[in-house]
């Protein structure tokens, strides 16, 4: 039955010349078994020191700083923050948009790149999804407490109540409730479904009874049957399509939250796109930070290759260029509209007296610094990329600050003008959410399959039944 299998030399001879070859998804792969060991190693090995070094401060922020700032605000009122007339939206909304933004790149990587069949996405997709899930959770918290009386949050949901009142469905703020909750649920389910086959891998590899029990429960009896895979692949494709829609929906709606107001600088037609691209750009910055650090710390250099990081950097550059275009358009339209209030606001973004530094950080980081990514040497310098990733996060945080505060602090009447400075509770809560995010992320890295084991294996040439490495026979080409 079995004909001659093509030898390794033959494979080498048949392969296209080096310059035409796509860079391998995993460098120096030694087969599927090796890959399984390699990818599940971190979740099974002894916890390294660095993990504790990162985890303890994160968990301190999450378990001490976060609840203190949260409960003090909820029990006392929004007044503990710096928000006050005329800047009624402060760091809470800035951070809300920032966290939603961080989430978006994760969905883009895991869903859109899946639909476009980018094999390299398999190695980083799971980490990106985890980033999405945890940052949406952080984002969702802010509007819930920004309302001031968090115990009335149920007003936001269409629940029949004794007041006989319903939410007003024409308001984008109402759409936001739907969008963010849906985003949280859908990205969590997508993340979980992607992990089911990998839970089965960890179940089959587990040495202790406890691990076996936990992963058996999580894998829900997954056997890897062709029938299972058949339905699973369909479900995954549908999920990816729906998640891609969400990428373009959630931040658009956040943009519409602003457009619904009359404030100068808040109702450009470009806003929905602006927020989507801004979100993706910011998320790619966070992705660079997470990928580069975890690659080093978890010794994943051959899995998350330089070529993958190079591709993420290129995507960062593309979204950065769109952002630069949108900034340009914003300023152009403000001038071209002839509206004195618009001109005032945009002039003051760069040449005002209070927040002009923020405006220049925004231009300097998001527009100017991003251009460094054109250079191949920069894209292959991981330290530099890490710093660029951090700076993009700061730059995009600044952007949201400029949009929110920059438009509010000087509105139509000079008598209304004021200033905004965040208080320690604003900053403490932000640090708390950062701590909660990293706590969750570190727990994910430690205990769950942080790389999609079955997906990476499925993208390898060894998994292709029509490839010689997958056991295809010589005479059976295109069988």
């Amino acid at each position: 039955m079995a004909g001659p299998v093509i030898s390794a030399e033959e494979i080498k001879r048949l392969a296209p010349p080096e310059e035409f070859r796509a860079s391998p998804i995993v460098e120096g792969s030694k087969g599927l078994g090796w890959l399984t060991d390699r990818l599940s190693a971190f979740a099974e090995a002894k916890t390294p020191i660095w993990w504790w070094v990162a985890f303890l401060p994160a968990v301190f922020c999450a378990a001490v700083v976060f609840p203190i700032c949260l409960f003090y605000q909820v029990f006392t009122g929004v007044g503990v923050w710096g928000n006050n007339h005329p800047v009624m939206w402060g760091l809470d909304i800035v951070n809300f948009i920032w966290w939603v933004g961080v989430a978006h790149a994760g969905t883009l990587i895991s869903a859109l790149l899946f639909l476009t069949k980018q094999g390299w996405r398999t190695t980083i997709g799971r980490m990106a999804e985890a980033m999405t899930v945890f940052s949406v959770a952080m984002a969702g918290l802010y509007p819930a407490i920004h309302v001031g009386r968090a115990w009335f949050d149920w007003f936001m949901f269409p629940i029949p109540n004794s007041n006989g009142l319903w939410p007003q469905f024409r308001s984008p703020l109402m759409w936001d409730v739907f969008a963010v909750n849906t985003y949280l649920v859908v990205s969590t389910l997508f993340w979980f479904m992607g992990m089911i086959p990998d839970f089965a891998v960890l179940r089959d590899r587990s040495k202790t009874r406890l691990r076996k029990a936990i992963f058996s429960a999580l894998a829900m009896g997954w056997t890897g049957s062709a029938r299972h895979w058949h339905n699973y692949e369909k479900a995954y494709t549908v999920f990816a399509g729906l998640c891609t829609l969400l990428v373009f929906t959630v931040s658009s709606i956040v943009g519409l939250d602003f457009c619904t107001a009359q404030i100068a600088g808040w109702h450009a037609t470009i806003f929905p796109l602006y927020f989507v691209i801004g979100a993706v750009f910011c998320g790619f910055g966070m992705m660079l930070v997470l990928l580069i650090s975890l690659r080093k710390l978890c010794h994943l250099e051959d899995i998350i290759t330089k070529s993958h990081i190079d591709k993420v950097a290129k995507l960062t550059l593309v979204s950065g260029l769109v952002i630069a275009y949108i900034y340009l358009m914003e300023f152009f339209i403000a001038w071209y509209s002839g509206d004195p209030y618009e001109r005032w606001v945009f002039g003051h973004r760069l040449f005002g007296h209070t927040y002009c530094v923020m405006g220049w950080i925004l231009i300097g980081v998001n527009v100017v610094m991003t251009q460094l990514l054109w250079i191949k040497k920069v894209r292959s310098n991981l330290v530099l990329l890490f710093i660029i990733g951090v700076l993009i996060n700061i730059g995009m945080w600044t952007e949201r600050f400029v949009i929110v505060v920059g438009s509010l602090y000087q509105d139509f009447l000079p008598a209304n003008w004021g200033k905004y400075l965040p208080t320690r509770w604003d900053i403490g809560l932000y640090i708390g959410t950062l701590g909660a995010f990293f706590t969750l992320y570190l727990l994910f890295v430690k205990f769950l399959p942080m790389i999609a084991i079955s997906e990476v294996k499925g993208a390898m040439p060894e998994a292709d039944p029509h490839h010689p490495s997958g056991g295809a026979l010589k005479e059976a080409h295109h069988e």
């Binding site: 024409r170 089959d204 062709a226 895979w229």
Partner: protein, 179 residues
């Protein structure tokens, strides 16, 4: 004789080998068999004649249901139960309902595809006869396992075993059923 049996399993080393084996098993006239692999093997669904998965329809059904329910909810809430005039616009119009209902379509579609996937796969289940076989653990690693079920009309302990050995299956083992 067959009461305590689940089937016979055989191991293969590569996706191409299991694909060839699956073709041979299909051509031998077996119908109740399955292949277990660490990742979906390209072309296996064609060999097994699985057709189009119905998960997409479950997703569509739930998505469309969620969409229509939210349209109805918005009509009920803002136009019927407590009519609300916003900006002098009609009490109810289709465009006003679009965004929330579209988002709930995504939610319904996503839940539908997960639930559909689990339902069609008959998951979650607590145990499976194959999971008690130590060698089967390799099916999530780097081996490809083909199982011919005892419920197949053509199943015969000797002939089926011979076929699996003939088509290159390693470690051909009888799998016991648990209940």
């Amino acid at each position: 004789m067959n009461d305590k049996l689940y089937g016979i399993m055989a191991e293969f080393d590569s996706p191409a080998a299991v694909l060839r084996a699956a073709k041979a098993v299909r051509d031998a006239g077996y119908r109740r068999w399955d292949v277990f692999s660490p990742f979906p093997v390209h072309g296996m669904d064609k060999v097994m004649g699985l057709g189009n998965s119905l998960v997409g329809w479950v997703s569509l059904l739930l998505g469309a249901g969620a969409f229509m329910s939210v349209v109805g909810l918005i009509w009920y809430a803002n136009a019927f139960d407590y009519p609300l005039i916003v900006g002098g616009k009609p009490m109810f119009s289709e465009p006003m309902t679009f965004v929330p209902s579209y988002i709930m379509l995504i939610m319904g579609g996503a839940v539908g595809s997960l639930v559909g996937m689990l339902a069609f796969n008959q998951l979650p289940r607590l145990n499976h006869p194959l999971l008690s076989k130590p060698r089967f653990e390799l099916a999530s690693r780097d081996k490809f396992v083909l199982v011919i079920g005892v419920k197949d009309d053509k199943f015969c302990l000797t002939k089926t075993r011979q076929l699996l050995e003939k088509i290159g299956g390693n470690a051909v083992t009888v799998v016991e059923d648990e209940d």
